[in-house]
């Protein structure tokens, strides 16, 4: 068999291959040759063959059949064999294979070899890929070598020990004695590796850490070494760009960090040296900055005094001005970590940070953006916002959503004025409108509602914004909602903040209809637009017919949501027109709730009520209608809270923009959900009872039967009966179903039932089944009343009835006192 070709020749041959296929063929041929050579157990050429195998392995070809051969090489006496053998072991073997265990003995022998380079090979291999078993077996040998005076071996033993400790932490103790005088070495290699070893031990074991702090007085030693490095003159052997052994400096700084963490004494002992390094290190090259970076990390992590911390942050600030983007990146990352604890110091570098928003590097931009948001406060909000809005304009799409959310948050916290706030929101909506998150829409709407004096200005600006472009859904949604609410202000040109625009009702309806028709509008947006149009029916005077037409058209829309709304609005026009103005009244100021849960609801001052009729929010307490006034007067009480049968309010702050303004979304979905328990909506100031109402039926499925019904009223042929149900889930709630019947020979029309209860109670009136009580008891009107009685007081009620009968308007008041005890106890 001819001698196997040499390594270099093989490499040369393979490189002549022009295609992948050609290369593969060559490799396969050579592998076959090597295999047969291995089979012949030829010692002479084994080394050459394994070397070739390693080359082919690097190209990506399998070489596992050479694993055993590596072991044979390691066991050989020749240095060359060992060198290649150990290299092969490190490249081809990993600890998951059993083969490597066979190495243990060889390594053990080689650790005790007479030639230091052989010992070095063994240490290197063990320290690179030794398994836990191997480490356990050989730890003793490593420990011995750690105490040798041969610095070449000592440094390797130290790093080998690090590996052993990582693999078998319990063995850490055994290396402790050997560490005693490690730092007295002059040899930098030994010093460096010793520091690494000590670092590993201190990080892993708090006991070790304490030991090294107290007993070994590690800190002074390290300080001394570091000082020498800085103060000593030029040492060509270890010099890098004028700095003496930066690798060692960085390592020492890192160990100091661990020692000084949470320890006042140690931190104090290293204060001076840290200040010295921070101020004296040359910053023109990367190597100096590497040391400064490590110094900053250390200063921020230990219990350093404030002057030092400010120094550190200033270094980071200087880094931000560095041309090298690596350094800028590293600085921003570090600043982000420290901005919470050292806010004021970081503030001083705000303008530099803001400049980084214009950096070309994406990660730098992102970090700069995060930092900027962390630094916004009441003093700098105007300036910062200008920069951030500019950033929002020009940044990559992946940032826009986060940036928009951040701007909203910052604006909410620090807005100097309402007008500024609205303007900022407008700016975000118009520049990044499609990236705004869904949950921002309800928040914005709430904000706008609460800025009462800005309504005219807001609606005008929003109108102008969508005139040109109505493709950005969040913007259109907010705009539609506002126009629906404040359209009257828009056409009457009431804006004070800026030049009022001339716009007619028809023009407003034009834009809303365009939104409805547009292909770009989502279903949710269309819902907003339709509702807005409906609301305008009470705010506009000349275009009501047009509105009616639009609403009726959408009654046959394919979109079920839209259809349902349209049908119900239609009904509002037809059967319930007398309620329309009350239902579509202006939204009251909302209470702000800060948590964000899907069950969360922002309570308005009005009562909430699910109804088949999805219409608008009720008038709030402070704006009672005339009917309420009547009741109040008649009932003569400030101890009575009048209740008017009304429709549900919208739930502005639920998750998902589509829930906003969603009147009776519960009925919409068809599946009434269980009412959220009081515990799940912690922020609501109104009693949870009101939430019960929102869930329509099921709450009261658990009926306790057996409460006797009463006749609450009987006069002039009109009889009203009360039947009772109690809820099992909420014992303070009583459901009363009233039934009105008419025994006269003529119908009673336009029948309205009203009720009032004492202040300690709360009342909810659901919609009646109709407004006509047919004659001769041929039918009844039913209506459901829910009463919340948390104090379990005796139930009392005053009722007022109005209806038309025999051509004249009738009205009566009565008190109901005969409630059975089971209905309220």
């Amino acid at each position: 068999m001819p001698a196997p070709i040499r390594l270099r020749e093989l490499i040369r041959t393979i490189r002549t291959a022009r295609t992948q296929a050609e290369e593969r063929e060559m490799i396969q041929k050579e592998c076959a040759a090597i295999r047969s050579s291995f089979r012949e157990e030829d010692n002479t050429y084994r080394c050459r063959n394994v070397a070739k195998l390693l080359y082919m392995h690097m190209l990506g070809y399998p070489a596992h059949f050479g694993q055993l051969e590596c072991l044979k090489l390691i066991a050989s006496q020749k240095f060359t064999d060992k060198r290649i053998g150990y290299l092969g072991a490190m490249l081809l073997l990993d600890e998951r294979q059993d083969v490597h265990l066979l190495m243990t003995n060889c390594i053990k022998n080689d650790l005790n070899h007479s030639t230091q380079f052989v010992q070095g090979l063994a240490l290197c291999t063990l320290g690179c890929m030794g398994s836990s078993e191997m480490c356990r077996d050989l730890a003793g040998e490593v420990e011995k070598l750690l105490k040798t005076s041969n610095s070449y071996l000592r440094k390797k033993a130290a790093l080998c020990a690090v590996h052993v400790i990582r693999k078998v932490p319990e063995l850490m103790e055994m290396f402790l004695p050997a560490t005693k005088n490690l730092l007295n070495e002059k040899n930098h290699g030994v010093l460096h590796t010793s520091v690494v070893l000590l670092t590993e031990m201190c990080e892993r074991s708090p006991d070790m850490l304490a030991h090294f702090r107290k007993n070994e007085k590690l800190v002074p030693q390290l300080v001394r070494i570091l000082k020498n490095l800085i103060m000593s003159g030029y040492s060509p052997e270890h010099d890098v760009s004028g700095i003496s052994d930066p690798f060692l400096q960085v390592r020492i700084l890192r160990l100091l960090r661990i020692l000084g963490r949470n320890d006042d004494d140690s931190s104090e002992a290293m204060n001076d040296i840290l200040a010295q390094v921070a101020t004296n290190t040359e910053t023109s090259k990367n190597v100096g900055n590497a040391i400064l970076y490590e110094t900053v990390l250390t200063i921020m992590d230990i219990k350093s005094e404030s002057g030092l911390r400010v120094l550190a942050i200033n270094i980071l600030g200087r880094f931000l001005l560095n041309n090298d983007k690596n350094i800028r990146y590293v600085a921003l990352t570090s600043l982000l970590k420290t901005v919470q604890t050292d806010h004021n110091a970081v503030q001083r570098h705000r303008s530099t940070i803001v400049d980084c928003l214009k950096d070309l590097d994406v990660s730098i931009k992102r970090r700069a953006m995060e930092l900027s948001f962390a630094l916004v406060n009441g003093n700098n909000i105007r300036g910062m916002m200008k920069e951030l809005l500019y950033f929002l304009d020009s940044c990559e799409p992946e940032f826009k959503a986060d940036c928009a959310s951040g701007i909203f948050l910052a604006a909410e916290k620090y807005a100097p004025s309402k007008r500024w706030h609205i303007d900022t929101i407008m700016r975000v909506l118009t520049t990044a409108g499609s990236y705004v998150r869904d949950d921002a829409v309800p928040n914005l709407i709430q904000l706008i509602t609460n800025s009462v004096e800005m309504h005219a200005y807001t609606v005008q600006r929003l109108y102008k914004a969508i005139l040109g472009d109505y493709s950005q859904q969040p913007l259109v949604q907010v705009a539609a909602w506002c126009i629906g609410e404040y359209g009257d202000l828009l056409v009457s040109g009431q804006c004070e903040e800026e030049e009022p625009i001339q716009v007619t009702e028809d023009e407003v309806l034009d834009i809303l209809e365009s939104v409805l028709i547009s292909n770009m509008s989502t279903s949710v947006t269309r819902g907003y637009a339709l509702t807005a149009i409906m609301k305008l029916s009470t705010r506009f005077t000349c275009t009501v017919n047009r509105i009616k037409k639009v609403v009726s058209i959408y009654g046959s829309s394919i979109d079920v949501e839209l259809q349902q709304r349209a049908v119900e609005y239609n009904a509002l026009f037809k059967k319930y027109d007398h309620m329309r103005s009350a239902l579509l009244e202006r939204m009251p100021v909302m209470e702000k709730v800060t948590t964000n849960g899907p069950t969360e609801i922002v309570q308005t001052n009005g009562e909430t009520e699910p109804a088949p009729l999805e219409t608008k929010p009720p008038p709030s307490g402070p704006q009672p209608t005339s009917q309420a006034n009547d009741l109040l007067d008649l009932l003569g009480g400030n101890d009575i809270t009048p209740v008017i049968p009304t429709a549900p309010t919208s739930k502005p702050a639920s998750a998902g923009g589509e829930l906003l303004d969603l009147l009776g979304d519960i009925s919409l979905t068809g599946a009434p959900t269980a009412a959220p328990t009081p515990a799940s909506v912690p922020q609501i100031s109104q009693p949870p009872f009101l939430l019960d109402g929102l869930s329509s039926q099921p709450l009261f499925n658990d009926i306790t039967a057996g409460i006797p019904s009463i006749t609450a009223y009987s006069k002039n042929g009109l009889k009203i009966e009360f039947t009772f149900e109690r809820s099992n889930t909420n014992p303070s709630v009583t459901v009363i179903t009233i039934q009105a019947s008419n025994s006269t020979e003529l119908d009673m029309t336009d029948f309205v039932f009203q009720a009032a209860v004492p202040k300690t109670f709360q009342l909810q009136l659901l919609s009646p089944s109709s407004s006509i009580v047919p004659a001769f008891n041929t039918g009844t009107i039913t209506q459901v009343i829910k009463v919340l009685n948390p104090q379990k007081q005796q139930l009392r009620m005053r009722i007022k009835l109005t209806y038309n009968h025999k051509g004249s308007a009738m009205q009566d008041l009565a008190e109901v006192n005969n409630f059975p005890p089971q209905s309220w106890q």
Binding site: R6, M58, H64, L87, T193, V196
Partner: protein
């Protein structure tokens, strides 16, 4: 440091040193991923990347070869750049003005030199002189009749 790679601008691997136990297949996969990631970087971009839970530090040398190191979160990226730089200097000194072909034909030497500079991913010798001295002395131990070994010209 968890691993170090050296590869050409075409993505051909020249050196792969791994300090965490990984199977051959895993090593291959990781190498491929990292090579792709680094080759996709444009010239003026920063040298640091985030990958899995590690930091990747890379550098291109003489516009022909990439060095790529994967370090842990608490390691200092800037000093890693210096480590790469030092290794390149060592190769330069040993091969007397290194060119890529030299490294290819003497790939095992590149590993030997690396093993005198780093051990288990940590720097073992900070003096350039000492590293080179050790290599030279070890080279002398090599039995001369082994023809696989050429003294670089």
């Amino acid at each position: 440091m968890q691993f170090m790679l050296r590869f050409s601008t075409q993505g051909k691997l020249r050196l792969q040193k791994c300090h965490v136990p990984l199977s051959d297949k895993e090593k291959k996969k990781i190498t491929r991923e990292l090579v792709q990631m680094v080759l996709a970087r444009k010239p003026k971009m920063r040298s640091f990347l985030e990958w899995r839970d590690l930091k990747i530090v890379y550098k291109i040398i003489h516009a022909s070869v990439y060095f790529c190191c994967a370090i842990e979160d608490q390691d200092n990226e800037l000093i890693t750049l210096e480590i790469i730089h030092r290794y390149v200097e060592l190769l330069d000194k040993y091969f007397v003005s290194v060119c890529e072909l030299n490294i290819i034909f003497n790939f095992e030497k590149a590993y030997f030199i690396l093993d005198e500079f780093l051990l288990g991913g940590e720097v073992q010798e900070t003096s350039k002189k000492n590293v080179l001295k050790a290599i030279e002395q070890a080279d002398l131990l090599q039995e001369p009749r082994h023809e696989y070994f050429n003294v670089p010209v």
